[in-house]
Amino acid sequence: MARKLLPLLLFSIAGCSQGSGPEADLQYIKQARSIGAEWALINEQASRGSLTPTYVAAMHRWLRDNLQTTSASLTQPESRYGQEIQALVAQPDDAAPGQLRAHVEQLKQIEDSLESA
C-alpha cells in the first residue's frame, strides 16, 4: 500500500509547485533579477580593474545563456516582467551597471508584489 501511495504523494506535491501565470513565473523572475544584479556587480568591478578579462568574458557568457533560458521558460513572456527580462537580454555585455540595476529594481518590485499577494 505504502509503495503505491508514496509515488502518488510525490507527484501530488510536485504538481502543486507547477502551473502557469505569474505565480509559476515567480522563480524565473527571481532568477532574472539575480542574474541582472550579478551582471551589474561584475561590470562595476571590471570597470575598477578588479577582475581579469578572461573571468569577465566567461561570466558574461554564462549570464547571457542563463538569462535567455530564463526568458524562454516564462509562461507569460508578454507580461510586464517578460518585457523587463527581454530588455535585460537586449543589453550589451558591457552595459552600464546603473542601467542594469534599473531593470533589476523593476523586477524586484514585481517579485515583491507577487510574493505578498
Partner: protein, 411 residues
C-alpha cells in the same frame, strides 16, 4: 605529532566542506537568509567531527573501514542497497566536482569547459596512479588552502562580527512567509547533507587504514578530525558571511561557483580573484578525487577485493579498474551537457538519503566493546552520535518533499 599527518583531515575537510556544493549553498544561504543559517553549519560540523573521529578510531583499533562494517552489520541485502545508493550519490557528486573544476579552469584560462573536463579527468587518473596516497592528500589538501583568501576577505570588509556571532545561535528568522519557511528548511537540510556527505567518512576511514593507523594514532585522529573539519567549517562560514554582506544587499543569489570568487575580488582586486579561483580549483579537484576514491573503496571493501593506494595499481587490479571507470563515468555524465548545478542538487538529495544507513553501522560498531575494547565510545560520543543520527534521519525523511515543494530552493 608530524604536522603533515594532519593533511589527511585538512584535505577531507577542505574537499568536503568547500567542494562545489558547499561553495554554492553557503553563498546562496548568506545572500538569501543573511547570517541566520550559520548555526546549521556549526551544528553539522560537530556532527561530522563526531562521526569522522569515530570512523578513524574504528580504523585504528578494529582495522575496519566503513563499508566492511556495513556488510556485517546491515546484512547482505540492506548492505547492497546502501552500496548502490551511496554509489549513485558519490558518482553524481564526482561528476559535479569534475564539472566544477572544468568551470573554474574556464574562468581562469577561457579554455572550453568540456575540453577542460576531459583534461582534468586525465590529470586525476594520472595523479592517483602515480602519486602515493600521502602525496595525493598533501598536494590537493595544501593547495586547497588558497581558500583561506575567503576568510581574509571577510576580515577586510569589516563585517558586523556581532551579527555573525549571533548566527551561531539556533534560530529561524522571524516574519518569514510559509514559502520562505519551507525554503529555509530546505537550505538547512541541504547544508546538513553537504557538510556530512557520506563520502567524507568513507574516504577518511579508508585513508586511516591506508596510513596504517594503530592505537598510537588515536590522538592524531582526534586532532585531525577537529582541526580539519573545523577549518573547513570556518571557510564555509566565511563564504556565507561574505555573501550576506556583499551579495544579499546587491540582490544577487549566487548560482554558480564563479560568483563566489567575486567575494575575494571585491576587497583584494585581481589577485584576490585569482587566489580564490585557485583555491576553488584545488579544493574541488580534491573533492573529485575523494568522491571517486571513496566510491572505489566502498565497492572493493564490500566485495572483499584487494584495495588501497598503498599497493601498486596492478597489485589491486579490480580496485584500480573501479576508480578509473568511476572517473570516466563521472566525465561521461559531464559530457552529456547536463548543468553542473543540477548535478549538485541531485548529489545533495541522494547523499542525505544515504546518511542514516552510513552512520548507523559505524555507531553500532564503535559502541561495541567486543571490537573496540578500551577505545569504545564514551558517554559524550555515544549521546552525540545517537542525537545526530536522529537528526539526519529526520532530515533524510524531509529532504525529498522539501526539494519538490521549493523547486530545489528556488521556490
Amino acid at each position: 605529532m608530524n604536522p603533515l599527518e594532519l593533511t589527511l583531515g585538512i584535505m577531507t575537510a577542505v574537499g568536503g566542506f568547500v567542494d562545489i556544493s558547499e561553495l554554492v549553498f553557503a553563498a546562496k544561504a548568506g545572500s538569501t537568509f543573511g547570517y541566520a543559517l550559520i548555526w546549521v553549519f556549526a551544528f553539522s560540523t560537530v556532527g561530522i567531527i563526531v562521526f569522522s573521529e569515530m570512523s578513524g578510531r574504528v580504523a585504528a583499533v578494529a582495522k575496519q573501514p566503513v563499508f566492511n562494517l556495513m556488510r556485517h552489520r546491515l546484512g547482505l541485502k540492506l548492505g547492497l542497497v546502501t552500496l548502490a545508493a551511496s554509489m549513485i550519490a558519490n558518482l553524481i557528486t564526482c561528476a559535479a566536482e569534475i564539472g566544477g573544476v572544468a568551470l573554474v579552469l574556464n574562468y581562469l584560462s577561457g579554455a572550453p569547459y568540456l575540453l577542460m573536463a576531459v583534461a582534468m579527468t586525465a590529470v586525476f587518473i594520472l595523479s592517483i596512479w602515480v602519486l602515493p596516497f600521502k602525496w595525493i592528500e598533501r598536494t590537493y589538501g595544501l593547495l586547497g588552502l588558497f581558500m583561506i583568501v575567503f576568510a581574509a576577505a571577510l576580515v577586510a570588509i569589516h563585517p558586523p562580527w556581532g551579527k555573525i556571532a549571533g548566527g551561531l545561535i539556533p534560530q529561524v528568522p522571524p516574519g518569514l512567509s510559509r514559502k520562505e519557511l519551507l525554503n529555509f528548511a530546505y537550505f538547512a537540510v541541504a547544508i546538513i547533507s553537504a557538510v556530512m556527505f557520506p563520502y567524507e567518512v568513507y574516504f577518511y576511514s579508508s585513508g586511516g587504514i591506508e596510513e596504517e593507523w594503530s592505537l598510537k594514532d588515536i590522538m592524531t585522529n582526534r586532532v585531525t578530525a577537529v582541526l580539519g573539519m573545523g577549518l573547513g567549517s570556518l571557510l564555509a562560514i566565511a563564504i556565507l558571511s561574505n555573501s550576506a554582506q556583499q551579495f544579499g544587499p546587491a540582490n544577487v543569489d549566487p548560482a554558480i561557483p564563479g560568483t563566489a570568487a567575486l567575494e575575494a575580488a571585491i576587497p583584494f582586486g585581481k589577485w584576490g580573484l585569482i587566489l580564490a579561483l585557485l583555491g576553488m580549483l584545488f579544493a574541488i579537484a580534491g573533492a573529485a578525487i575523494e568522491t571517486c576514491m571513496a566510491n572505489a573503496y566502498s565497492i572493493a571493501q564490500f566485495f572483499g577485493w584487494a584495495w588501497g593506494r598503498h599497493k601498486k595499481p596492478w597489485e589491486a587490479p579490480r580496485f584500480t579498474i573501479t576508480w578509473i571507470v568511476l572517473l570516466l563515468l563521472g566525465l561521461g555524465i559531464v559530457l552529456t551537457g547536463v548543468d553542473v548545478m543540477t548535478l549538485v542538487e541531485f548529489a545533495i538529495l541522494f547523499s542525505i538519503l544515504v546518511l542514516p544507513l552510513t552512520y548507523l553501522p559505524l555507531l553500532l560498531l564503535s559502541g561495541d566493546r567486543k571490537y573496540m575494547g578500551e577505545q569504545v565510545n564514551g558517554p559524550v560520543t555515544r549521546i552525540l552520535g545517537w542525537a545526530y543520527f536522529a537528526v539526519i534521519t529526520v532530515a533524510a525523511l524531509a529532504a525529498l518533499p522539501l526539494y519538490l515543494l521549493t523547486s530545489g530552493g528556488n521556490g
